[in-house]
């Protein structure tokens, strides 16, 4: 355990390693200590608030969001983000609590969607099956629970990554199945469409706003139920199994049954999300349940912090809103791009003097280079920044963008990546010096090349954000570091 980084909020009384005392255990008190000053006061106050007022507050805050978000697109982004949050919360049961790497999770989502679709369309018989949601949702969820048990069965024998691969097969098999088997019922690649909306007792949900509120209510309810579960015997059993299955067995915890339950509960949450997704889209297709979306769910959970439900929700919201809300338009992608760079510098660069120096030199370097290049060859700066809005006008005589920036932009992109890797290798003064041209080149490449291809840039940024975030905070935004039994 000697390679653990020192906890920052170490208390004064602990002076150093002591013989016979595990460092991690010894520092446990220190980690629980409140921060000094007002932040500690705030923490102490918030800790006294129970879990349900906090959840209710968060729910009310969420309910106010549609009053701020005006248009259908923003509501759609909200729906996507809530779906992702719900899915992340469900995935957290198996991955975060029970420590089972379930790569077939997406299949439960698809199963819920297809289950709802079959029960709410003309697909199964000529007259069609049109159950109200009050019946179809429970049917789908119970079926998913049973399916979860079946898929979880191999977990009795499989450990770690071997379980991951078997569940991955299951996920892939689901897509293959819906694509190729019984096309007259499941629709093949054409999917199932013209589904009923969610309806019961004569009320039906048609608008995006309605689905936003439905998802919000479901998310809050799910969190409440799962919180009760988490603090019950079952929850403690899950964590015991995650930390050490052998020790858990010795303490008479029925390890296999506990694992199966984790799969099953996760499956139910995913199926619920899938059913709402199907109803909102009014159609289902195999491609929506393929691996790329599974990766997003995992990214949301791990980014937020596996093991923490608040983290899962936060991760889902952050990933959903970033990906669909910001990165789809190049103006807002620009805010994210420049914002993240500044944020990284702000967090990583100390003292402030150095930061000011670096930013100042970058600005000066840009104006100087621009003037020099313009004097030599005016066409080399003729392109101008390709983004729009105030950023573009601010950067107009700063960045160098040639007339036809594609090739130059590509070369710049490769050089930029090389510089970034070099930055990791070098230290001290040299790092500060190399940082200046790197920042400037990043801005040039963004304005010259990346803005022109917003769709591809969106994917590149997603990858970059995942790498940087995981490196900055491996345990996720709200996750806590814990001892891993290796």
């Amino acid at each position: 355990m000697s390679d653990l980084p020192p906890a920052e909020s170490q208390t004064q009384s602990i002076t150093g390693p002591q013989v016979g005392v595990d460092e991690w255990v010894m520092r446990a008190g220190g980690r629980r200590q409140y921060a000094p000053g007002w932040r500690g006061d705030v923490q102490r106050r918030t800790d006294k608030v129970g879990w349900w007022p906090r959840l209710a507050l968060a729910g009310i805050a969420g309910a106010l969001v549609p009053f701020v978000l005006g248009n259908q697109f923003q509501l759609q982004v909200g729906i996507n983000a809530l779906l992702l949050a719900l899915l992340a919360v469900g995935l957290n049961i198996a991955v975060g609590w029970a420590g089972l790497l379930d790569l077939g999770y997406i299949a439960f989502y698809g199963f819920g969607a297809y289950g709802f679709a079959l029960l709410s369309s003309d697909q199964l018989s000529t007259a069609g099956v049109h159950l109200p949601a009050i019946l179809s949702l429970p049917i789908v969820m119970v079926a998913a629970a049973i399916l979860g048990l079946l898929v979880g069965l191999p977990s009795r024998r499989l450990l770690g990554d071997y379980l991951a691969i078997v569940t991955l097969f299951f996920g892939e098999a689901f897509v293959e199945f819906t694509n190729n088997v019984a096309p007259s019922k499941l629709g093949g690649p054409n999917g199932i469409f013209a589904l009923d909306p969610i309806h019961s007792f004569g009320v039906q949900i048609l608008s995006n706003k309605g689905y936003f509120y439905l998802l919000l209510v479901l998310l809050v309810l799910t969190i409440a139920v799962l919180h009760l579960l988490d603090t019950s015997r079952t929850g403690r059993a899950w964590r015991a199994v995650r930390e050490d299955p052998l020790a858990a067995t010795l303490m008479t915890i029925p390890v296999n049954r506990v694992k199966l339950m984790a799969f099953s509960f996760g499956a139910v949450v995913a199926a619920l999300a899938g059913a709402v997704f199907a109803a909102q889209q009014a159609s289902v297709f195999p491609t929506d349940f393929d691996t790329p979306f599974l990766i997003l769910i995992y990214a949301a959970l791990i980014l937020g912090g596996a093991g923490s439900m608040a983290g899962a929700v936060l991760g889902g919201l952050v990933v959903g809103v970033t990906l669909d809300g910001f990165l789809r338009s190049s103006t807002e992608a620009g805010y994210i791009f420049y914002g993240l760079i500044l944020l990284t510098l702000l967090v990583k660069m100390r003292p402030w003097r150095k930061l000011a120096l670096v930013l100042g030199s970058t600005v000066v370097l840009g104006f100087a280079l621009h003037a020099i290049v313009k004097a030599i060859s005016p066409s080399a700066v003729a392109g101008g920044p390709q983004s729009s809005g105030w950023i573009a006008s601010a950067l107009h005589s700063w960045v160098i963008v040639p007339q036809n920036p594609t090739t130059a932009g590509n070369i710049g992109f490769v050089v930029l990546i090389c510089l970034l890797i070099a930055l990791v290798q070098i230290h001290g003064r040299w790092r500060t010096i190399v940082l200046v041209p790197t920042l400037y080149l990043a801005a040039c490449v963004w304005e010259g090349r990346l803005v022109a291809e917003p769709s591809i840039t969106r994917q590149i940024l997603l990858g970059a954000i995942l790498i940087v975030m995981m490196n900055a905070r491996p345990q996720g935004l709200l996750g806590s570091r814990r001892v891993e039994v290796v």
Partner: protein, 391 residues
């Protein structure tokens, strides 16, 4: 650790808040953020935004990128010709209906947007058709050909290519009557486009008493040798209603590698003179080779210069974008400001005597092309496409 976390969280919240604020206050600004085409006449006031939906990234990026390039080309050429100021906003769907739904909501919420080119896949049209219908937004696809789309349920939907139920039987009859196979291999690629054509063709083959071996391979597969090993000496035709021409080229190579004599018959997805060049193959397409039409020379040259080689998916999207551009221009000419309803009316009234696709463009009441024709080509030893005169 806690302090840094707090800082990060605060900054993140601020960032999100800033983004939300800006996106709600400036949806018009984000509209112009897309690839803005060069404005034609600075004095003109004909401003409008047109959306583009297609798989710009993901498994079939080659399809979507080509479509995007031709849409950009059409907008910039038409802007110059009509003195309009139309901007094209791109939305990536990765051929996934869920993403198409989000992009569609983004476009509908953009008040400046009057029409959309795309989406590319039939399953995407199924998912987003009702949304566009409710918003009264016209959308024209260059590649979604499922017959079920134009049964009247999508009032704002148009397409510049004929549907499966026209192309499938026509191709199948040609195969039966001209190639006279005893047995044939029919392979779909597990996409809506392909399975639609297969189900339109199969009855014709069955009726002619031909022995049909139906297989299906995913678009992600790049080796067909084990499939080709199943081709018997009696199988003289391999029918490939595929979207990815490079896959068919590889299948052709696998045939040659195993010295099989069967001939490939492909549908419009394989029409790709730079990529699919198997000697003796047949390809049916919704238009003649645009490089062979003198009137299209300017477009073909511009496309070649800007994007290099291209296949079958670009020209129809050019035609679709052109229809929208002309509709917007006509609205402006009549003194109105372009809106969804008047552009929709103008698109419905479209009557182009000729087009980049070598045939007139006129829509029926459900948005289908009136009298859509298909052209048949045979590939020679040099990889050139030679048009077969229609019987």
């Amino acid at each position: 650790m806690k302090g840094r976390l707090l800082l990060t969280a605060t900054a993140l919240t601020a960032l999100i808040a800033a983004g939300c604020g800006s996106s709600s206050s400036s949806s018009s600004k984000s509209a112009s953020a897309g690839t803005s085409a060069a404005a034609g006449g600075s004095s003109s006031k004909c401003n409008a935004a047109v959306g583009f939906e297609g798989p710009i990234t993901g498994q079939v990026a080659m399809l979507g990128a080509e479509q995007l390039h031709f849409a950009q080309l059409a907008v910039s050429m038409d802007n110059t010709a009509n003195k309009t100021n139309i901007t094209l906003v791109q939305g990536d769907t990765q051929l996934m209906p869920a993403q198409a739904t989000t992009v569609t909501q983004q476009f509908i919420s953009n008040s400046k947007m009057v029409a959309v080119v795309g989406p590319a896949g039939s399953q995407e049209v199924e998912a987003v058709g009702p949304l566009f219908g409710r918003a009264g937004m016209p959308f024209i696809t260059g590649s979604a050909t499922a017959a079920a789309l134009t049964t009247g349920k999508n009032p704002t939907f148009f397409r510049v290519v004929s549907k499966d139920s026209v192309q499938g039987p026509q191709d199948a009859h040609y195969i039966v009557n001209t190639l006279h196979p005893k047995s044939l291999l029919l392979v779909d690629d597990q996409e809506a486009y392909s399975t639609g054509l297969v189900s339109a063709m199969t009855p014709v083959f069955k009726a002619a008493g031909i022995n049909v071996d139906h297989e299906s391979v995913s678009q992600k597969i790049t080796d067909f040798s084990s499939l080709i090993s199943k081709v018997t000496p009696q199988t003289s035709v391999v029918v490939l209603p595929w979207q990815v021409a490079a896959n068919a080229q590889q299948l052709g190579r696998n045939l040659a590698e195993q010295h099989k004599k069967a001939v490939i018959f492909g549908t419009d997805g394989l029409f790709s003179p730079g990529t699919f060049t198997i000697n003796g193959s047949y390809v049916s397409s919704f238009g003649p080779d645009i490089t062979s039409i003198p009137a299209d020379k300017a477009i073909a040259d511009a496309a070649k210069a800007k994007f290099g080689s291209y296949g079958t998916f670009g020209p129809p999207v050019y035609a679709a974008t052109h229809v929208i551009d002309q509709a917007i221009a006509s609205v402006c000419k009549s003194g109105q400001t372009p809106s969804r309803s008047n552009v929709l009316a103008a698109i419905k009234a479209t009557n182009e005597p000729t087009s980049i696709l070598g045939q007139p463009i006129k829509f029926d009441s459900h948005g289908d092309l009136v009298n859509g024709k298909f052209f048949l080509f045979k590939i020679n030893a040099k990889g050139q496409y030679k048009q077969i005169p229609s019987a």
